[in-house]
């Protein structure tokens, strides 16, 4: 249970969906077990009872068809919120996402728009092993034509859906499974947020730590640990992985001259590589040390707990990378 005035990430997301449904009759939800089951992570719990089966639609296990149907329904003037249970199953719908959602506007010379929102759970950390632990949001950010959001805070869980639904382009929202039970205060009315900018979650002058999604709490904890060692770290939450808000990152790096990126994705070809490459291109001469990366080990996620923990970014690994960056040109 949450303390009075507090809410969970899950409840915040649910409140956002409920508000969207109440506000706009074009909005509806579809996906596997979003209705009678209450959502595989209970995000949509109670919505079927409130809004009925026309607007809270349980689908068969057919990821490609119901994501594609979301695209068609968006073309047809509705505002679908499609839930894919987890990112792991989204591979089955990737053709629809890359070849239709991301391209229809372009292929039609700008005539069509696909105002579709796709939500999915992402990430590891619960011993679900190799097929149920992918962190592919950074990988999805490779695709032009879609936007990729990674709400990491309760305010973003509450606030990002509304602008995503207003956006004429397809928007993918990745919710890290480890965040659903995080609690915190939420103002009433909840703050309005954008889906265009990164946010500085902690100010600091010695080094910049960039992260997003599930590793934000870990990175803040690492910043606290660094503070105890006399290192004042700035923490940037990317929030949006596509299009990337370079400016916020560069502004910080130009002040701190050092950067470590924390990313739950596999290292090679990760979004952290892209950020490192952009810093190389835009702020090379401001760097006092090479940009460091703390990513997941390049291994399908092992079930055994100690191995999974070792595979994921941790406070210890972030602190070590930050210290390496600080002493690099020593």
């Amino acid at each position: 249970m949450t303390a009075p005035g507090e809410t969970t990430y899950r409840e915040a997301m649910r409140a956002a969906i409920r508000e969207a449904l109440a506000r706009d009759p074009r909005v509806f939800v579809m996906g596997e077990d979003v209705g009678r089951y209450g959502g595989c992570f209970a995000v949509t719990l109670g919505l079927l009872e409130e809004f009925g089966p026309e607007r809270i639609r349980d689908t068969p296990l057919s990821e490609s068809a119901f994501v594609g149907a979301g695209i068609g329904a968006a073309l047809g003037g509705t505002r679908p919120i499609v839930e894919i249970m987890t990112v792991n199953f989204s591979l089955l719908a990737l053709d629809q996402i890359m070849n239709n959602a991301a391209t229809l506007q372009h292929m039609s010379g700008g005539q069509l728009h696909v105002p579709l929102v796709i939500r999915m759970t992402t990430g590891a950390g619960r011993q679900l092993a190799a097929q149920h632990s992918h962190s592919l949001e950074g990988w999805y950010a490779h695709i032009p034509g879609i936007k990729v959001l990674t709400p990491a805070t309760i305010e973003d869980a509450r606030g990002m859906l509304a602008p995503a639904l207003e956006d004429p382009d397809p928007v993918l929202i990745f919710e890290h499974g480890g965040l659903y039970n995080t609690t915190g205060p939420l103002a009433d009315p909840p703050p309005v947020v954008d889906i265009a900018h990164a946010a500085v979650r902690r100010r600091g002058g010695d080094i910049t730590l960039v992260t997003y999604g599930g590793t934000l709490p870990t990175t803040i904890a690492a910043a606290d640990a660094l503070a105890a060692r006399g290192v004042d770290a700035e923490v940037i939450d990317l929030r949006v992985l596509r299009p990337l808000d370079d400016a916020t990152v560069m502004a910080s790096v130009r002040r701190t001259h050092r950067l470590v990126i924390v990313d739950e994705g596999w290292r090679s070809g990760s979004i952290s590589a892209e950020i490192s490459a952009r810093v190389m291109e835009q702020a090379f001469f401001d760097l006092d040390a090479p940009v460091g990366r703390v990513c997941s080990a390049e291994v399908p996620m092992p079930y055994a707990r100690h191995l999974e923990e070792a595979a994921l970014p941790s406070v210890a690994r972030i602190v070590a990378a930050a210290e390496e960056a600080i002493t690099a040109n020593g």
Partner: protein
Amino acid sequence: MTRVPDPAHGRDLYREMLRIRRFEERCVELYSQTLIRGFLHLYVGEEAVAVGVLATLTGDDNVVATYREHGHALARGIPAGAIMAEMFGKVEGCSGGRGGSMHLFDATARFFGGNAIVGGGLPVAVGLALADRMQDRPAVTACFFGEGAVAEGEFHESLNLAAVWDLPVVFCCENNRYAMGTALERSESDTDLAAKAASYEMPAAVVDGMDVFAVEDAARAAVAAARDGGPQFLELQTYRFRAHSMYDPERYREKSEVDAWRARDPLTLCEQRLRELDAFDDVTRDRFEAEVAAEIDAAIAFAEAGTLEPVADLTRHVYRDTTT
């Protein structure tokens, strides 16, 4: 034998098929001249399918087609000039020159492409129908695809979803017997495609796709049933007279088979039928030929006169332009 067609309407159908035939024949020439590029998939031989089905739709209905969609685009009323300009890569093209032959679009005509992934259009069609139902619009979505798509998982997922939700989709399977070089017998263990539909409790009809009147009759019934009810399946048996695309040496079929089907050319069949009814003569045909030739000449002139989009605009249409 289908009902006796109305003479004037029958001539319209003939003329529409002729437009498509002549349009595509000119496309082949333009392709050799490299004025059209990329892949070019011809519909020659299959015209009765698009013409017959689309004759039964209203302007509020939706159409989803494949990369073999010149016929559908023309029959849906997208101007020949806009289609030709598209294949020339010009701004005046129906997709602004971004799509080409495989991606003809027209939002006003509710023509949702031109999808070049086999099976990729079916889920989209289901969604269009869902949007209509949810918004209480009486529209129907006609979704065209080849028999090769039946082996793709998306076909099954889409039929089932449309059936579970009872949506107004008419699934129009253009069974031209080959998917590139793969004959239906080698791609489906059971070549009875209506049986697949039946396994979703979806009404299905098998139609002579070379007879435009038969197609129209079957489509009219299916469209009416879908409009008031759930999804329908039409297997339209047809044949592609030409290669799969421009690069196909056709090793996989006998010339005799092609000839046998050519004997049932949908234009010839339609003309014969109309002549039996004294509804067609050489004068009519010559007039149609002349009108169609003029239309195509004009379309080519329009395409040639079209403009190339400035290279500076390269990254437009990726996200909605919020700056203007």
